[in-house]
């Protein structure tokens, strides 16, 4: 608590500064308080000698009536937020059945989790969590039409890869094959806790984020280069004016010649962020051209272009960073869920505030939670593969 004496001191000092002198009684009071808080002497002396005032922002255009209205609205919204319905008697049998089912499901779930042990949970000794979760890694599953799936996480994978494809430093490289007898469709499935970079047969580099899928032909056709994306990927398109590079994601169709861009299609409304060059984007109803530094998103089935406030949003994840700038808690949690393979269990309604911050993606979940606790004011508790979200209780 700031002592009331300090407040009185500040009041008297400001009166002295403003009026140039004080009535005797108040002057004596000020002297007494200055003896008590000698630090204030310098500050007062400096201010008496120097008439500058530090006005932080234009206070006069602040409309106090308006601010008061905002406060009342905020207060009322907060009061009505918890809205529980009381159950009447008729619900009781239903609850019993529900409880029984829940119990059954719990058994099934526990049994299943015994069957499938996970190896990315580790004890936490630093942050006081029940356990910690290792970050995701490079990896993906490659599905070639008519063949067995190939798990690229396996160390000795090279033998099982078709000719012309190799895995080098965790990156998948396609080389242009001369023979055109077979050109099967490849699907790269990147599960949660994984990410992979690849170079397509035309030299285009792609980074595919967790929980995403990229479908393409091992060799592109002579007149087009088309890939299909679910989830998020960043593309650095190799220049080829004769064959436009086309990405299909949800309702979007993105056409590039030689550019770099990020497409995020986790949500039904996909979003494109262009970092280099120029793009043509086709939506359901309109098409739009954008230059580097701009993005496109779908609003009410119309494509709308917008300037990107910060390019790092498009590239940070592929460079190994979480980037929370201007993201809501829900978006942040979605990203964590994809990278750490965890389920989010939120006991509170998440506010729409946007945060700024970031952290490397190669740290454990407990470390991220520790940062987020400071950043967002939510308490994040790890319980095996679950992340429980609560409001942080203020320590008084």
């Amino acid at each position: 608590m700031i002592e009331t004496d300090k407040i009185v001191l500040a009041e008297l000092a400001s009166l002295l500064l403003k009026e140039g002198q004080l009535p005797t009684a108040q002057e004596n009071e000020l002297r007494r308080l200055l003896e008590k808080y000698p630090d204030a002497k310098d500050s007062l002396r400096h201010r008496l000698a120097n008439t500058d005032i530090h006005v932080p922002f234009d206070l006069r255009i602040t409309d106090l009536d308006q601010e008061w209205k905002i406060l009342k609205t905020k207060y009322n919204e907060r009061k009505i937020a918890p809205n529980y319905h009381r159950l009447n008697g008729n619900w009781k049998p239903a609850i019993r059945i529900a409880a029984a089912l829940l119990l059954l499901f719990t058994f099934v779930w526990i049994w299943k989790s015994y069957l499938k042990p996970v190896n990315y949970l580790i004890p936490d000794k630093v942050y006081g969590q029940k356990n910690d979760v290792l970050p995701g890694e490079n990896g993906a599953i490659l599905k070639i039409k008519g063949q067995d799936e190939i798990n690229l996480m396996n160390k000795q994978v090279d033998g099982s890869l078709p000719q012309g494809i190799e895995l080098k430093d965790g990156k998948l490289l396609y080389s242009q094959l001369k023979t055109e007898e077979s050109n099967p469709i490849h699907t790269l499935i990147v599960p949660k806790r994984s990410t992979i970079a690849l170079t397509l047969s035309d030299g285009t580099r792609v980074w595919v984020n967790s929980e995403s899928e990229l479908t393409y032909k091992a060799n592109f056709e002579k007149n087009e280069r088309t890939v299909r994306l679910k989830g998020e990927a960043y593309f650095e398109v190799a220049k080829d004016t004769k064959r436009p590079f086309v990405v299909e994601a949800n309702d979007l169709n993105v056409q590039a010649i030689g550019t770099a861009f990020d497409i995020n299609s986790y949500k039904p409304n996909a979003k494109v962020l262009l970092t280099e060059g120029r793009l043509k984007v086709n939506g359901q109803e309109n098409e739009i051209f954008i230059d580097a530094g701009n993005g496109v998103k779908m609003i009410n089935s119309q494509l709308v272009a917008f300037p990107i406030p910060d390019m790092e949003e498009a590239t940070a994840w592929k460079d190994g960073y979480f980037y929370f700038e201007n993201k809501s808690m829900q978006q942040i949690l979605d990203e964590l869920s994809r990278w750490y393979g965890i389920k989010i269990d939120s006991n509170v309604s998440l506010d729409k505030r946007r945060y700024k911050g970031g952290i490397k993606r190669d740290v454990t979940l407990a470390e991220v939670c520790n940062l987020l606790k400071d950043l967002t004011g939510y308490q994040l508790t790890i319980d095996k593969e679950k992340l429980i979200v609560n409001k942080l209780v203020d320590k008084k």
């Binding site: 700031i2 009331t4 400001s14 007062l44 008439t51 005032i53 006069r60 106090l64 940062l371 950043l375």
Partner: protein, 170 residues
């Protein structure tokens, strides 16, 4: 007993002034002060304890919230590691309090000026208009502008006229 509304309208601006050096953002400063008042609204019993206690409560809440906000920012800085971390959390609270009180007092004083004086002063000092421009804008004579300006200066009780003029000119 004074109402919350009274405290809000009297102290909102100086509390924002107080919060600002920590957070360096007008929006965040305002949010913090709003939040401090929400906490106060939940403690109506405090209202009976008088103005000083309430001021102390408000300043303290704002200080704590502002420091938390700053701490969050510093966590962010650390991660971005290129940005230098500010030297210390310990602002000179007394100096900040004096500054806040002074700005609050000046502001309330300016608000007390008669409407006509205020408008003319604003146009001159805030919008940087010349006397004849102000006269044209308000459809009065240049002499009226001059006398209203003098009247405003006389009405302001402060001996430190520079202070007020600086304040206005900011």
């Amino acid at each position: 007993m004074l109402s919350i509304e009274y405290y809000f309208k009297t102290y909102f601006l100086q509390l924002c002034t107080f919060a600002f050096p920590w957070v360096n953002s007008e929006e965040i400063a305002k949010d913090i002060v709003q939040d401090a008042f929400i906490v106060l609204m939940d403690k109506p019993e405090l209202l009976e304890k008088g103005e000083r206690v309430i001021k102390s409560f408000l300043y303290t809440s704002v200080k704590n919230m502002a420091m938390n906000a700053k701490r969050r920012d510093r966590v962010f800085d650390k991660i971005r590691d290129a940005i230098t971390i500010p030297e210390s959390d310990d602002r000179n609270i007394l100096d900040d309090l004096i500054n806040a009180e002074l700005i609050g007092a000046l502001h309330r004083e300016l608000d007390q000026l008669p409407e006509g004086c205020q408008r003319i002063c604003r146009l001159i000092y805030l919008d940087g208009m010349k006397y004849d421009e102000v006269a044209q804008e308000l459809d009065v004579s240049v002499n009226t502008v001059k006398t209203q300006r003098m009247r405003a200066i006389n009405l302001l009780k402060t001996k430190f006229l520079n202070l007020v003029l600086n304040f206005l000119l900011f």
